[in-house]
Amino acid sequence: MTRMTYREAMRAALRKALRDDPRVFLMGEDVGRYGGAFAVSLGLLGEFGPERIRDTPLSESAFVGAGIGAALGGMHPIVEIMTINFSMLALDQILNNAAALRHMSGGQLRVPMVVRVATGAGRQLAAQHSHSLEGWYAHIPGIRVLAPATVADAYGMLLAALREPDPVFIFEHATLYPLEGEVEEQAPLPDINRAAIVRAGGDATLITYGGSLGKTLAAGNQLAREGLEAEVIDLRSLRPLDTETVVESVRKTHRAVVVDEAWRTGSFSAEVSAQIMENAFDDLDAPVARVCSAEVPMPYARHLEEAALPKVEEIVVAARELVPRHG
C-alpha cells in the first residue's frame, strides 16, 4: 500500500502504462512541457520524451480525431482534454467517429483509446470550466464512461481502461486531484463494470459518483448520528451502469436519493431514477429523490457557486424526508 494523492495515482498509472506498452502515448494540451493543467503528467515528458508525451495545439477536434486514427493504426492513445466544457469541441469526433466506427464498419474497426477529461465545479471557474456533462457521454452507445471517485480507482481504472478494445472516457472531478488515499499497486485490475457499496446501511440508499461521493458520505455520517443508516453507492461506471447493485440495495432499503452534480433536467440522475422505477417500483416506499445542481450556468462568486451545487445538508434533508419517522 502506498499513500498518495488522486493526482499522483493517475500519474503513477500513466507511468506504468507507458512503461508496460510501447503503443501507449499521452497527448493533449499542455501535457508535456507544462506538466498538465492539473499537473497530472508533471515529469513524464522528461521520462518518456516528446514523441510519447505529446503537446498538441488547441485543436480538440483534431487531436481527439488523431487519437482515433492512431488507435486504428495500431497505437493505444491516452488523450487528455483539459476540461469537460472544452470537450464539446471534440464531440463530433467522439459521437460520430469514436463511438460509431466499430459498428458502422460492420465490426472491422476498433478504437482502443482512453480519453481523460477533468470535470466538475467548486473552484470558482464560472460558466465555461465547471460543468458536469459526463451524463451526456453516458448516453452514447459504443463508448465506456468511468468516473473514479477514489484514489485507488484513479489508479486502477486507467489501467483497466487500457485493457478495453473500445474508447473509454474517464471523467476526473477536478476537486479530487489533491485527495489522499491508499493505492495497492500490485492489486489486480478493478472490475470497471461494477458499482461499489462504500457505506452499508438499511434505511435508505444514496447513489452518487465522482466528485459528489465525499459529500454523500458526509451526509451518510450525519444521518447515522441521527439514527438513520444510509447505504452509499459509488456508481464508478456510468456506462455501462450497474443497475443490479443499485436495485439490490433499493430492494433492501426501499428508498433512494440520487446525488449528481449535473443539472437536474435530463441528467444522469434521471436515468438512475428511471432504472429504479423500472426495476424496483414495487419495492419503493417513497418516490426516488434527487439532489442536483441548480439549473444555472455556473456563477463565479463563491457564495453563488456554493448555492448552485449539491450540499451535504440537502442530501441529509432529502434522505430524511423519505423516512417517515425522520421526515
Binding site: P57, G65, A66, G67, G73, D92, M104, Q108, G142, D166
Partner: protein, 332 residues
C-alpha cells in the same frame, strides 16, 4: 495518322492507359447502375454519385500502395472501386445486405475495408481529416514507411477540422497527402459563395504545407500530380495538399433537385467529361478502337451485373445480431 505519337513517347504506357480507362468506366457504370437501383427502390437513404469526378480518384489512387491508408468521404464509391474493393461488396452494402463491405451497417456513405486499409467514408464533412492525421501519426510512431491519403471536398475547407488537421500534420511533419476533390460545390453552395479565397491550394501556405493544383478532369495529369505529391511525402518532407479541380455532373444526392446551377454550366463542364476526354486521347494515340471499347464496356457491364445479382441474392444480417459489435470483448 502521321501526327500520332510513337508508343514510347506516350505519357503513360498503352497498358496503363487502358487500365485507367477501364477503372474510370467501372466507376461510371457502377454509379449509373446505383442510380438505377435507387430508382427501383433497391437502394435507400442518401446516394451521392461520383459521376464526372472519376479522373481524380482513379488518377490519384495509382500512387498509393497496399500498405498506405485511405480515408475518404461519403462520396466514396469511386475511391473504393479504385482501391480494389469488389463491386459486389459495395453494391451489397447499398442493398443493406450482410455481405456488404460494412455488413449493411453503413450504406452508401460508409464503406470500410480494413484489409485494404480503406478506413472509411465519413459523412460529417471534414470529419475524416483528423483520423487521417492519426493514421499517419501511428505509421510514424511505429516506424512504418507507409503514408496516408486523405480525400475531402471543397466544402470541407470551411470546416475547422480542415485547418486543425493541416496545421497538426504540418507541425508534426506527418506522412499524409491531403487530396481536395474540388467539385465546385459544397452541396448546393458554389465555392465563391462560401470561400473568400477560392484557390484552395493557396490555403496550405498558411500552415507551412507545400501544395499544388491540377486539372482533375485529366486522369493522366491527376495521376502525375498525385505521384509527385506522394513522392514528396514519402521522402519525409511532411504533408502535401493537392487540389484536384473537377465537377460533379449529377446532383449532390438523389434527393437534390439541382436548382442552384445552370444547365449551361453543367453542359460546359460535360464537354470535359473525364471518361470521354480520355477515350479521345486513346484514340488519338491509336490504342483505342470501337471494337476494343465495346469489349471493355461488355466486360464492365458483366462485372456490374454480377454485383447486382450478388447483392440481390445475398442474405440480410439477422436482427438478433443488431447489437453485435457496438462494443467488443476484452482481448485476452
Amino acid at each position: 495518322m502521321s501526327t500520332r505519337p510513337l508508343a514510347e513517347n506516350l505519357p503513360v504506357t498503352s497498358e496503363h492507359a487502358w487500365f485507367l480507362l477501364r477503372e474510370m468506366l467501372r466507376i461510371r457504370r457502377f454509379e449509373e447502375k446505383a442510380a438505377e437501383m435507387y430508382s427501383l427502390g433497391k437502394i435507400h437513404g442518401f446516394l451521392h454519385l461520383y459521376i464526372g469526378e472519376e479522373a481524380t480518384g482513379v488518377g490519384s489512387m495509382q500512387t498509393f500502395t497496399p500498405e498506405d491508408s485511405i480515408v475518404t468521404t461519403y462520396r466514396e464509391h469511386g475511391h473504393a472501386l479504385a482501391r480494389g474493393m469488389p463491386a459486389r461488396e459495395l453494391m451489397a452494402e447499398m442493398f443493406g445486405k450482410v455481405t456488404g463491405c460494412s455488413r449493411g451497417h453503413g450504406g452508401s456513405m460508409h464503406f470500410f475495408d480494413v484489409r485494404r486499409r480503406f478506413f472509411g467514408g465519413y459523412a460529417i464533412v471534414g470529419g475524416g481529416m483528423p483520423i487521417a492525421v492519426g493514421l499517419a501519426l501511428a505509421d510514424r510512431m511505429q516506424n512504418r514507411p507507409a503514408i496516408t491519403a486523405c480525400y475531402f471536398g471543397d466544402g470541407a475547407v470551411a470546416e475547422g477540422e480542415f485547418h486543425e488537421s493541416l496545421n497538426l500534420a504540418a507541425l508534426w511533419k506527418l506522412p499524409i497527402v491531403f487530396l481536395c476533390e474540388n467539385n465546385q460545390y459544397a452541396m448546393g453552395t458554389a465555392l465563391a459563395r462560401h470561400q473568400a479565397q477560392t484557390d484552395i491550394s493557396r490555403k496550405a501556405a498558411a500552415y507551412g504545407l507545400d501544395s499544388n493544383a491540377v486539372d482533375g478532369m485529366d486522369v493522366v495529369a491527376a495521376e502525375a500530380a498525385a505521384r509527385e505529391a506522394a513522392a514528396f511525402v514519402r521522402s519525409g518532407k511532411g504533408p502535401f495538399l493537392l487540389e484536384l479541380r473537377t465537377y460533379r455532373f449529377r446532383a449532390h444526392s438523389m434527393a437534390d433537385p439541382d436548382l442552384y446551377r445552370t444547365k449551361e454550366e453543367i453542359a460546359e463542364w460535360r464537354k470535359r467529361d473525364p471518361v470521354v476526354l480520355f477515350e479521345n486521347r486513346l484514340r488519338e494515340w491509336g490504342i483505342l478502337t470501337d471494337e476494343k471499347l465495346a469489349a471493355l464496356e461488355a466486360e464492365v457491364e458483366a462485372e456490374i451485373a454480377d454485383a447486382v445479382r450478388f447483392a440481390e441474392e445475398s442474405p440480410r444480417e439477422p436482427v438478433e445480431d443488431l447489437l453485435k459489435d457496438v462494443c467488443g470483448p476484452v482481448p485476452s
